[in-house]
Structures are given as structure tokens and as C-alpha cells.
């Protein structure tokens, strides 16, 4: 090979290398391996969360919504009015029982699907009153891949496999995208003035459009203390926009999980916004709980310590 042809081949080899690395990263991000133990914990955890939302959610009160105040979401396009109370209660009972069955690993695929579907419909009812409510949407989206998750995994499955990993990796990717979009639309609609203006102060002063803050004095203090409002705004804005870095550096996932949970707990206190489903879902997905358990203790999750004679 002459020097000229070698030089010509070098950029092509370089771009081919970049493409190969990107493909490898993409493949690992979505289809990378995880242990069956981690899948078990996440699958059970999501089933618990869905069950709690279905059973504890304020859905029964929706039955009293007068017809002129009903604005059905596209998923319920045929709906003219809210369903009778009996239908809502039935969905909560069926969904709750199904979620429990999924937790207890009884007919898991069917049970999980029934629970998820009941949750979807109940959340759709709640969102059919004119305002887009995001309280349940993250959990609905990230739990969807688990509809086809493999079954039969246990806490003792500690060999990472792609068959166990894809639901978790896909859910983490979706989570990162969701947070990114919340920040992206702040940037798109308001620009950096979202941070570098009185925007955050005004958010605190105006308060929430629905609900009451648990600590209204804290919201007032943040709103009226310029540097605190600025830092709070900068924290929220940067956390959301940079969330996709957890797909590049997986070691950052637990840190972002903690920060996201803090954000949602904080917004509940100062704005009264119910995002506890988000606050629990994100750490459930982004933290490798079986691995953490092993690091904190001397034995793997699901094992029994026995001293040899």
C-alpha cells in the first residue's frame, strides 16, 4: 500500500471506527446485560408501585365529575362522561389484586399486564378533566417494557445476561429521555431566562395551580431569597438537561437517582405536587439494589450464610 492510499484509508477507517463504537454503545445502552436478581427486584418493585397507585389513587372521586367538565384523553375517545363509581372501584380492585399476584410471582405475565392496564385506564380517567397530568406518566412509560420481560428469574441469578438486561436498560433510557424533554422544553420555550431571571422566584410566589404546598413558608422564603431561587432553578434546569449522561457513564446513575428523588420530594414540600411515583421509580431503576446489598453486607441478596463445620 502506498503512502497516499494509506492516508486515504485512514479517515475512512476512523469514521468506520466511530460508527462501530456508536453501534456498540447503542447496543449496550438498550440491550446490555444485567443480572436476573436486578430484574427481579425492579419487576417486583414496579408491580408494588403500580399496585399502590391503583389502590390508593383518588380515582373514586372522579365518578362525580359532571359531563361538561369531562375532556376525554385520546385513548378514551369514545367516552362522553366519567364511568360509574362501580366501574372505577372494579378497576382498582382488579388492578390491585393483579399487582399483588405479580409481586407474589403468580401468573406473572398476565397479572402484571392486567395491573398495568388497569393503571393505564385509571390514569386516563384522571387525565380526562382538561389538564395534562404527568403524575403517573413516567411510571406508565418505564413499566411498559416489562410487559414482555422474561420470567423465572430469582434473586440468586447473578450472571448478567442480555435477556435480563434489556427491560431495565430500556426503562433507564426512557427515564433519561423523559427528564431531558422536561428540560428541553423549558429551554425551548423560555431559554436560559428560565434560570437567569425572576422565573423561579415567581414560580414559588404564584404557587401551584392545583393543590397546596406542605411548607408554604418554605416556598415563600425561596421565592423571596434571590440567590436560593437562582440555585434551585439552576439545579432543576441542569439536572433535567444533563440526565442523558447516565447513559454514557452508568456510574452516575445512582447519583442522578438521588438528585431526582430530592427534587420531587422538594417540589412536594414547596409546591404540593404529587410526584412520589417519580421519586420512587427513578431510584428503583437507576440503582442496582442487589449489588448495593452485596456491597453493604457480606452475602448476596437471596442467599443464606452458613459456616462450614
Amino acid at each position: 500500500m502506498t503512502t497516499a492510499s494509506a492516508k486515504q484509508g485512514a479517515p475512512e477507517a476512523s469514521s468506520a471506527g466511530v460508527v462501530a463504537r456508536l453501534k456498540s454503545w447503542f447496543d449496550d445502552t438498550l440491550w446490555g446485560p444485567e443480572t436476573g436478581a436486578r430484574l427481579y427486584v425492579v419487576h417486583v418493585g414496579l408491580s408494588v408501585l403500580i399496585g399502590l397507585r391503583v389502590v390508593l389513587g383518588p380515582y373514586r372521586a372522579l365518578a362525580d365529575t359532571p359531563e361538561p367538565l369531562v375532556d376525554p384523553v385520546p385513548l378514551l375517545f369514545w367516552m362522553q362522561e366519567m364511568p360509574p363509581l362501580g366501574v372505577i372501584i372494579a378497576l382498582q380492585v382488579v388492578g390491585g389484586v393483579a399487582a399483588l399476584a405479580a409481586v407474589l410471582r403468580r401468573n406473572v405475565r398476565l397479572a402484571y399486564a392486567v395491573a398495568w392496564f388497569c393503571y393505564l385506564i385509571l390514569a386516563a380517567y384522571r387525565g380526562s378533566r382538561g389538564k395534562v397530568l404527568h403524575n403517573d406518566l413516567l411510571l406508565l412509560w418505564v413499566s411498559a417494557p416489562f410487559l414482555l420481560a422474561p420470567l423465572g428469574e430469582t434473586l440468586r441469578d447473578r450472571i448478567p445476561k442480555r435477556i435480563y438486561g434489556w427491560p431495565i436498560r430500556v426503562a433507564i433510557t426512557m427515564t433519561a429521555l423523559v427528564y431531558f424533554f422536561t428540560g428541553f422544553h423549558k429551554l425551548r420555550r423560555t431559554g436560559f431566562e428560565w434560570v437567569f431571571s425572576d422565573n423561579m422566584s415567581n414560580i414559588m410566589r404564584w404557587g401551584p395551580s392545583i393543590g397546596e404546598p406542605a411548607l408554604p413558608d418554605a416556598a415563600t422564603w425561596i421565592g423571596n431569597t434571590t440567590w436560593v431561587a437562582f440555585l434551585a432553578g439552576a439545579f432543576l434546569f441542569s439536572l433535567e438537561l444533563t440526565f442523558p449522561v447516565v447513559l454514557l457513564w452508568r456510574r452516575l446513575q445512582p447519583f442522578y437517582a438521588v438528585l431526582a428523588a430530592m427534587m420531587h420530594v422538594g417540589t412536594w414540600f414547596v409546591l404540593g405536587l404529587d410526584y412520589w411515583a417519580w421519586a420512587i421509580t427513578v431510584p428503583l431503576l437507576l440503582v442496582n439494589w442487589p449489588e448495593l446489598w452485596e456491597r453493604l453486607g457480606d452475602r448476596p441478596l437471596g442467599s443464606r450464610l452458613r459456616r462450614s463445620p
Binding site: T65, L148, P160, K161, R162, F180, T182
Partner: protein
């Protein structure tokens, strides 16, 4: 150097030797397992989910459960419009009726209230009537309900503003009504 008793980690019913073998392989992905492949059905589901998620997120439309995830994206300035209910008593006195006074089913009513802006008179009357029925249950003295667009402003507490315009105090700031525009009104007689 003393010899410590080896501590074996075993799963229920597992032979210690097997457990030890598993432990050796614990962190090594089994890349030679031909059966360890993501099923085609899973790839299809994931593809559909990502198309739905990305399209709504990037383009910015709402088609529940697809959403743009616009949460607090609009800038909050010192002025803001609110859609409010104002109850009128027999003696002509008025008071704002908070949606929190009504049953939970009415908590999101501010959004349907906005539709009064572009609804027909019949549709606006329907909305007003269901609300006045609920309001009268809470406050029987109210004989008329007004649906208003209330332009409010954040002002410093020590600035000039009328007592009657006061909505709420927020530390050193006060939220005051700047402009109230009644868009629709209905009487409670039909609801009694």
C-alpha cells in the same frame, strides 16, 4: 497466621461447590450463551415505545399517554391570568369561590373554565350550571355564579394597591387583581 473457618455462601438447597462456581462467574456476562438474545417481540415493543416517546417529546404535542413533558416550561412573570369563580349573594356581595371548596371531581375545573373563551353560549351555560350546583351545595347563599378571567399581578407589599384587589400575601410580595373580566354568568335557580 491462623486459618479462618471458610464461610460458604449457599442458596437454599444448593450444593456449596455449585454456589462457589456461581460466585466465580457472578460478574462475568455469559457471552457464549446463544440463547441469551433479546427476543424479536421485545425489540418491536421497544421500537414502538421509543417512536411514541421521541416523537411527542421532540415535536411537542399532547396525545395522552404520549406527551411533550412540558412541566413548568412557560416563563412565570409578574402577571398571570387565572380563571376564577365568583359567587354573588342575594345582597349583591361577591366572593371568590375556590375550587378547593368543591369536591375533588371539580379540582381541575379551571381548565374547562378556559373553554368559555371560545365555547358557544349553550356550552358555557352547561359548564356554569354544573359549577353553580356544586357551589350552592357548599354555600347556599349564592344565587349567581360568574366565570371570570382574572388578570393578577405580583406587587411589592409596600407599593400602592387597593385593599379590594388583594388576593394573597406571599412574604414581601402581594398578589393583587388587576383586571377581572366576567366571561359568563348563570343563576343558581336552575340548580336548586
Amino acid at each position: 497466621m491462623g486459618v479462618q473457618d471458610p464461610v460458604e455462601q449457599v442458596g437454599d438447597g444448593e450444593h456449596p461447590a455449585e454456589a462457589g462456581g456461581d460466585e466465580d462467574r457472578a460478574d462475568q456476562p455469559d457471552r457464549t450463551d446463544e440463547a441469551d438474545r433479546v427476543p424479536r417481540s421485545a425489540r418491536c415493543l421497544v421500537g414502538v415505545l421509543f417512536v411514541a416517546l421521541l416523537s411527542a417529546g421532540l415535536i411537542g404535542f399532547e396525545l395522552w399517554p404520549m406527551t411533550a413533558w412540558r412541566m413548568f416550561s412557560a416563563p412565570r412573570g409578574e402577571t398571570q391570568n387565572f380563571w376564577v369563580l365568583e359567587g354573588v349573594a342575594e345582597d349583591g356581595s361577591t366572593r371568590e369561590v375556590e375550587l378547593t371548596e368543591l369536591p375533588m371531581a371539580y379540582s381541575n375545573a379551571e381548565w374547562p373554565l378556559r373553554s368559555v373563551n371560545w365555547n358557544s353560549a349553550v356550552e358555557s351555560e352547561e359548564i356554569c350550571q354544573v359549577l353553580v350546583e356544586a357551589v350552592v351545595e357548599v354555600d347556599p347563599d349564592i344565587v349567581e355564579l360568574q366565570i371570570s378571567r382574572d388578570g393578577r399581578r405580583l406587587v411589592r407589599e409596600d407599593s400602592d394597591w387597593e385593599d379590594g384587589d388583594h388576593v394573597r400575601t406571599v412574604g414581601d410580595w402581594v398578589i393583587v387583581t388587576e383586571d377581572r373580566d366576567v366571561k359568563h354568568a348563570c343563576s343558581a335557580e336552575g340548580g336548586r
